[in-house]
Assembly symmetry: C2
Homo-oligomer: 355 residues x 2
Amino acid sequence: MKIAVLPGDGIGSEIVAEAVKVLNALVPQLILEEAPVGGAAYELHGHPLPPATLELAKQADAILFGAVGDWKYDTLARELRPEQAILGLRKHLELFANFRPAICYAELTAASSLKAEIVGGLDILIVRELNGDIYFGQPRGIRTSELPLFKGAREGFDTMHYSDPEVERIARVAFEAARKRSKKVCSVDKANVLETSQLWREVMIRVAKGYPDVELTHMYVDNAAMQLVKAPKAFDVVVTGNLFGDILSDEAAMLTGSIGMLPSASLDKNNKGLYEPSHGSAPDIAGKGIANPLATILSAAMMLRYSLGMPEQADTIEAAVQKVLSQGLRTADIYTAGSTKVSTKQMGDAVVAAL
Amino acid sequence: MKIAVLPGDGIGSEIVAEAVKVLNALVPQLILEEAPVGGAAYELHGHPLPPATLELAKQADAILFGAVGDWKYDTLARELRPEQAILGLRKHLELFANFRPAICYAELTAASSLKAEIVGGLDILIVRELNGDIYFGQPRGIRTSELPLFKGAREGFDTMHYSDPEVERIARVAFEAARKRSKKVCSVDKANVLETSQLWREVMIRVAKGYPDVELTHMYVDNAAMQLVKAPKAFDVVVTGNLFGDILSDEAAMLTGSIGMLPSASLDKNNKGLYEPSHGSAPDIAGKGIANPLATILSAAMMLRYSLGMPEQADTIEAAVQKVLSQGLRTADIYTAGSTKVSTKQMGDAVVAAL
Ligand SMILES: CC(C)[C@H](C(=O)O)[C@@H](O)C(=O)O
Ligand SMILES: CC(C)[C@H](C(=O)O)[C@@H](O)C(=O)O
C-alpha cells in the first residue's frame, strides 16, 4: 500500500518526519512517497499543488499531510497561495467528509483556558462537509456593481450552495458515526436566515428517518458557538457545512487545550482519505524543533484505521501516545510545571519506543 | 424625544418593562410608545413587523427592543417568522453598525466557563456590519439544479456580498471607536477563501490609511474563533461582517459569563439606533419573572449616550447597575452561592432605587 506524504510548510516537515518514523517502525510494509505541497511546492514548481503531487495523491491509498501556509505568501495571487493546495486536494479527490475530533486529554486539562469541570473528559466529533458550500460555490468574484445603491462601486461576492445529494451524503456519514458513539447528532445551520441552511435542515430531517435509533437536534450557528463555550460536553456528534465547520471545529479544538494533539481525517466515499493535524503550519516556530508531532502521529493512526484497514496498528499508536503522555513528556505547547519538556524529535522517538 | 418600545417575544416584555421603569424614573421627559413586534405582532396582525410598528420605529428618535423568537413559530414560512422583524428593522432603518461589547464584570467572573485569569477584566468591542453580507445578498433561494453534477436535484443558495462603500462606512465606525479605546482594530475575514473577504480586507487597509494612529491587524475567522477562547484579552476592537459577526459576537459574549448583562446598539449614520440585549428571547423561562433585565437596562443607557445625547444619564444608569451588583443582587442566570437571588422585577426596582 502506498501513502503520499505531503509535509508542506512551516512546521510541516518536522512533524511529518516523526509520524513517518512511527509508521516505518510499526508498519514497514507501507510504501511512503513524499512530494512537495503548499508554499514549498510553489518555491520549487511555481504552483502550490503541482500536477505530480496531485497525481501521487490520486494514486496513493491515503495521504499524510503536514500543514500549509506562511505569511511570506500573503501577497501572492489567491490561486498561487499555499491554502489552494489543501482546497484543491479536497476537491479533486472528493474528500467530502471531514472528521475533527475535539478531545480533552486528561493529562492536558490544565492547559485549557476553560475550567476543568467544563472541559475535563470532553470528547466530541465535528463532522464537517468539505466539498461544497461557499468554499466552492459559483458565481464568485470582484466586479463593478450594477446594484442601484452601489452602482459603479466595486463589489465582492461569493455563493453559498448545497444541493440535496451533497447534504444527504454528509448526513449519512454523521449518522453512521453517531451509531458508533452516543447516537446523538446536532446539525448546525443558520436556517433562520439562509436558504441554503433551510435546504440543509430539511435534508437532515429526511435522512434522519432512516436512522430512528439516532437522535437529531438542530442548532443555529451563533448559538452553537455559544454552547460550545458554555457546555461543550452537551455535544457528541456535530454535523455542519464547510464554512460553519471551519469556524466551529477550530473553536472546539481550542477549547480542549489539546490542539497540538488533535488529528483529523478527510474521507471520500470509499474511505480513501487525507490525514492532517488540526493545527496549522505555525511558521513562527518552524525550524526550531519544538513543534508537537503528536497530532500528526495520531493522524497517521486514523489513517491506519479508516483508510488502510489496520485498526490494531492504529490502537497501538494511540496507546503509545497515551503512554508518553503518562510518562510526563511534553512539547512546549502543552508543557506545564512538573512535566518533562521534550523536542519534536524526542517526542517522536519516545512514541516509537513506546510502540 | 420619542422612543419606540418594542418588547417582542419570550422574556421580552418582562425585561423591557424594567428598562422602561428605569427610564421613567430618570428621564421622565421621554415619550415612550409601545408596539408589538416578532411573534407577538404576528399573533395580533399576521406579520412580525406590521406597518404601524415600522412606522413608529421610523418616526422615533431611538428604539428600545426586547427580543424576538419562540419555537412555536418554527413552522411558519420564513417571511412570517419573528426573526424577520429584527432583520427588517435593521434594513429599513439602515442600522448598519452593530456595537456588541463583551465585558466580563468583576462580580461575575466566576460565572464564566473560562478560567478567571483568562477572562477577568475582559472588555472588548465587536463592531458587526449589519446591513449587508449573506443576510441580504441576492440572488438566493431554493431551486432545481442546473449543475451537471447535481442536475435535477434541489439546491439552496445564498449570496455573500459586500461593496466598497459598505465596507468603508463600517471601517470608519470601527476606527473611530478604536480612537476612543486602545487604538487597535482587528478585522476578521476569510480572505484566503472568499472574494468578498478579499475586497473587505483591501478596503480595511485603505481606510486605515486615514487613521495612522490606529493599528490595524487581520485575522481569519476560524483563527479568531480560536483566539477568542485562548486569549480574549488580546483583542480590543474587532470589526467584521454580518455573518462572522453574528457568530463571533455570541461566542465572545458567552466567554464573559455575563451574557445576561450585555447590551447592544445598532446605529444608522446619524446615530439613530436600536438598542437590545445581546441575549435572546429565552422562551423556556418566559413568564416566570426570573429573567435578568440588566442587559436591557444597560441597552437603555447606551441609547441615552449614543442616540439621545444624554451621557450623564447613561453614566447614572451604569453606576446604578454597578451598585446593585456590588450589593450582591443576582437574578438566577448569574446567581452564585453567597449572593442574593432576586426576580426580574426586584432587580429593576433595585436599579431604580440605586439611581
Ligand atoms: C487553510 C484553509 C483554506 C482551511 C479551510 O478554511 O478549510 C483551514 O482553515 C482548515 O480548516 O483546514
Ligand atoms: C435572530 C437572528 C436573525 C439574529 C441574527 O442572526 O442577526 C440574531 O442572531 C442576532 O445576532 O441578532
